[in-house]
């Protein structure tokens, strides 16, 4: 009897947990659908939040309905129509519809149909959120708020700003979308590849913002992977979307080996048995698919590099010439000093630290404010036995480090060098 009762009523804590999971799953879809129907982001957000309040109460009592996404969208839509009717414009629209009862256009006609979330809605909304007319911080915040369903407070915490500052940022971005009439649509095929670039950058930026302090910001990585998966389904003809997902999955597979008890562990020293084999195999098959398509781009090439790392049983067994060749290709399509830095690190494995140091010195001025440059110089200087210079470089890396794990690692290296002297 007890077992049967438990199946019918999984218990309030379990129900709340499941309701929260459903909310996170359907938030972006529901907001996107409501924005399509009503053309107003604030109205859509308010309505979906209201539907969640109603759902929390009703589902807690009656259980989760078979189609929770449809339920949320329908409840939110009814709420939005209600809100709409309270405004002057809403009443005008309604009375115009009443006057035109001889088959004229019904302003709520579309809204009143049984509403189901359409995957395309999310795609439209992400192109609005990542419109190049919005600044990048605003693109990131909007994407997390509207598509990820993160709260303003959660986003503020992820990007180390205060909640009121993040609320203002979101408010300004939404104001611009409305005032400047940033369109809510998937760009024409001819513009799609170009307009997809900022969308992919925003998602990757969200992923990388989640790698700083692991547990605190893990939700940013989770959201980025979720958005990445959605994009692969929504724009199947753009291999860069698959490249981005592969890149995130392959990075994610090593997250727990890279950070052990708050300490940074370099690729060289990682316990490879802690790498997540499922994520690696998914990443590898995406990369193989990209290679087969033969339309390489920066994200696919970065994913291919990570795929080579993930294929190696040991650090020594890594196919370094292949990695350097991929960096050469990447540098030809994405000629940035950061790519040159990563290439130089690979060069130290194929051609030795002296060759790597030469390449690092070429970008040293440009990347002087970048912790990883000083870390790479420190490692090569150390291999060359130039201990005093290596110590200085590690100090610079520690000063500029953007996470406490990195800082701790560099400080330890300085101590080791001090003992070796």
């Amino acid at each position: 009897m007890a077992g049967k009762a438990a199946r019918v009523d999984p218990g309030p804590v379990e129900t709340i947990r499941r309701i929260e999971a459903v909310f996170r799953d359907v938030y972006g879809q529901a907001v996107a659908t409501l924005v399509r129907v009503f053309g107003d982001i604030t109205l859509a957000e308010d309505a979906v939040q209201h539907a969640f309040v109603v759902a929390a109460e009703r589902w807690g009592r009656d259980g989760i309905p078979p189609n929770p996404a449809g339920w949320i969208v329908t409840t939110a839509r009814n709420r939005a129509i209600d809100q709409h009717r309270r405004t002057t414009r809403g009443r005008e629209l309604e009375s115009e519809a009443g006057d035109a009862s001889d088959g004229g256009p019904d302003p709520f006609g579309e809204a009143l149909q049984e509403e189901e979330p359409v995957p395309d809605d999310r795609l439209r909304l992400i192109f609005t959120c990542c419109h190049p007319a919005l600044r990048i911080e605003h693109q990131v915040a909007l994407t997390l708020r509207l598509l990820g369903g993160l709260t303003t407070e959660e986003i503020a915490r992820g990007f180390l700003v205060t909640e009121p500052a993040m609320a203002r940022r979101l408010g300004r971005a939404k104001y611009k979308i409305k005032a400047a009439k940033i369109p809510y649509r998937v760009p024409a095929q001819s513009d799609l590849a170009q307009r997809l670039k900022p969308v992919l950058s925003v998602v990757y930026l969200i992923y990388n913002a989640g790698t700083g302090e692991l547990t605190e910001r893990a939700m940013l990585r989770r959201e980025a992977v979720r958005l990445g998966r959605a994009l692969v389904i929504l724009v199947p003809d753009e291999p860069e979307a698959a490249g981005l997902l592969a890149l995130m999955l392959l990075n994610e597979s090593r997250v727990h080996a890279r950070n052990v008890d708050g300490a940074l562990v370099l690729l060289r020293d990682q316990n490879r048995s802690r790498w997540d084999r499922d994520l690696i195999s998914e990443g590898h098959s995406l990369v193989r698919e990209c290679v087969r398509r033969g339309r390489p781009g920066p994200l696919q090439l970065q994913a291919a590099i990570q795929a080579v790392h993930c294929s190696a049983e040991t650090f020594e067994a890594t196919d370094w010439p292949q990695i350097v060749a991929l960096y050469d290709h990447l540098l030809s399509v994405l000629p940035t000093p950061v790519v040159a830095l990563n290439r130089a690190i690979a060069v130290s494995e194929t051609d030795g630290p002296a060759a790597a140091l030469e390449e690092l010195d070429l970008i040293a001025i440009e990347l002087d404010g970048y912790s990883s440059l000083h870390a790479a110089r420190a490692a090569t200087l150390r291999s060359l036995g130039r201990i005093a210079e290596a110590t200085d470089a590690y100090s610079r890396a520690a000063e500029l480090a953007d996470s406490s794990a990195d800082r701790k690692y560099f400080t330890e290296q300085i101590q080791e060098l001090g003992l070796a002297r």
Binding site: A179, A180, I182, P183
Partner: protein
């Protein structure tokens, strides 16, 4: 349909600006004439023009119920509006498309701002 202000700025400099050659000038004018014809044909053009320099500006303000005039522009700035269009466009993407064409013609950056075309304020007031 929305309206947008497409504007461009001239930058005040100590040196006299380099004048384009007559040929370049001719080519630019041809480009602008063709662009404005395209704007007319598509119902995009609302209004446009260029402004004389800030040295020609005068500011009027009220002091003790009297109009006081001062020579010079409202704000002391290095950049001043040089010219503008008001256009009709469906949305920001359409407006940005036109701004790209204007920018290509005049070889200057163009600022795009939504323009609240309210018409006369009296028309906005509720009926008495």
């Amino acid at each position: 349909m929305s309206q947008y202000l497409l504007s461009t700025y001239s930058v005040e400099s100590e040196d006299a600006p380099e004048m384009p050659s007559p040929d370049d000038m001719q080519q630019m004018m041809q480009g602008i004439i063709a662009l404005e014809a395209e704007m007319d044909a598509t119902g995009t053009f609302v209004f446009g023009g260029h402004l004389h320099g800030p040295d020609a500006a005068t500011v009027v303000k009220q002091e003790d119920a009297e109009a006081i005039m001062t020579d010079g522009p409202f704000v002391e700035a290095k950049e001043h509006i040089a010219g503008f269009y008001i256009i009709n466009a469906d949305d920001l993407d359409a407006a940005l498309g036109w701004a790209g064409k204007v920018s290509a013609c005049v070889n200057r950056p163009i600022e795009v701002q939504p323009f609240a075309a309210t018409g006369r304020v009296a028309d906005q007031m509720p009926d008495a």
